[in-house]
Symmetry: C2
Subunit: 183 residues, 2 copies
Amino acid sequence: MIDAESMLSLMKGRQSDRRYLSKPVERDKIERITEAGRMSPSACNGQPWHFVVVDDPALRDQVAAATESVILRMNAFVREAPVLIVVVREKSNFTSRAGDLIKQKDYSLIDIGIATASMVYQATAEGLGTCIIGWVDDRRIRKVLGIPASGKVELVICAGYTDNRLREKLRKPPGEVISYNRY
Amino acid sequence: MIDAESMLSLMKGRQSDRRYLSKPVERDKIERITEAGRMSPSACNGQPWHFVVVDDPALRDQVAAATESVILRMNAFVREAPVLIVVVREKSNFTSRAGDLIKQKDYSLIDIGIATASMVYQATAEGLGTCIIGWVDDRRIRKVLGIPASGKVELVICAGYTDNRLREKLRKPPGEVISYNRY
């Protein structure tokens, strides 16, 4: 059992880490992290996802390069992360896609968010830092990793050990977004 | 600190609960749950969300009715849940919306999924059962709760105490969706 205060502390302690130590991440940690993703809830249990763990240094560099924008000076830190988890969105099941049509929204994007959060919180419990990258070159990563055209690379999760003294202290405060019974 | 095995057990213990006890849920639990949502990561820290906690029985019944489909025989159980958390998607910030345009995807739907997962896992740590409902009548719920047209109701999270002997045992097994270094 996890007590409620510890759980909230874990979530509050998570931040988007953009510095990693080169120390490799153990495979049993990775396995628990992806297991957390795999067990996540999804619309009609469609599980519209596939996770590719990239810890081979050469492949990791190629995937990292496909998240970088030299012009916007973004995501150069991704290649520092010893592990990248590539989150591929797959076609969902029939009932979920019927729901998409009727309700005119793409539940599978929400599902991808849920599974990603599960992996990030498991990684936090494993003592790892993470950063979720949404800026990805889908086509290029698919080519590097042999992902079929039916899948779409939506996110890349960076994971690795961090130097706690170096963890970035700055984060924007969250807004007031909660109300009771009325908006 | 939460140890990694306990965290994974918590996630594996979560299921979509469709039976609730009428026992009310304490407000301090609700506050920690929504706090977990509020602290969640989002694209460019855009926080494109607003959470409305509905625990007033009359309003709760009206929101529940807006998730039900009599024809499809769906979601009649929602009115049993003592608390509903209505997840409203708001317009994100400029940088995140610029990303949407360039990358042609709606990051805010992913963000909504992440925040929802945070709330569900905090609720689990609080000893509550949950079920995420994606089948919602956005317009009707907006009217009931006074949500402005700029917001869109994407999900409703049911939360409440459950009778462990009655918890539904059946869930479809998750698929094999993890690979290493290649798809």
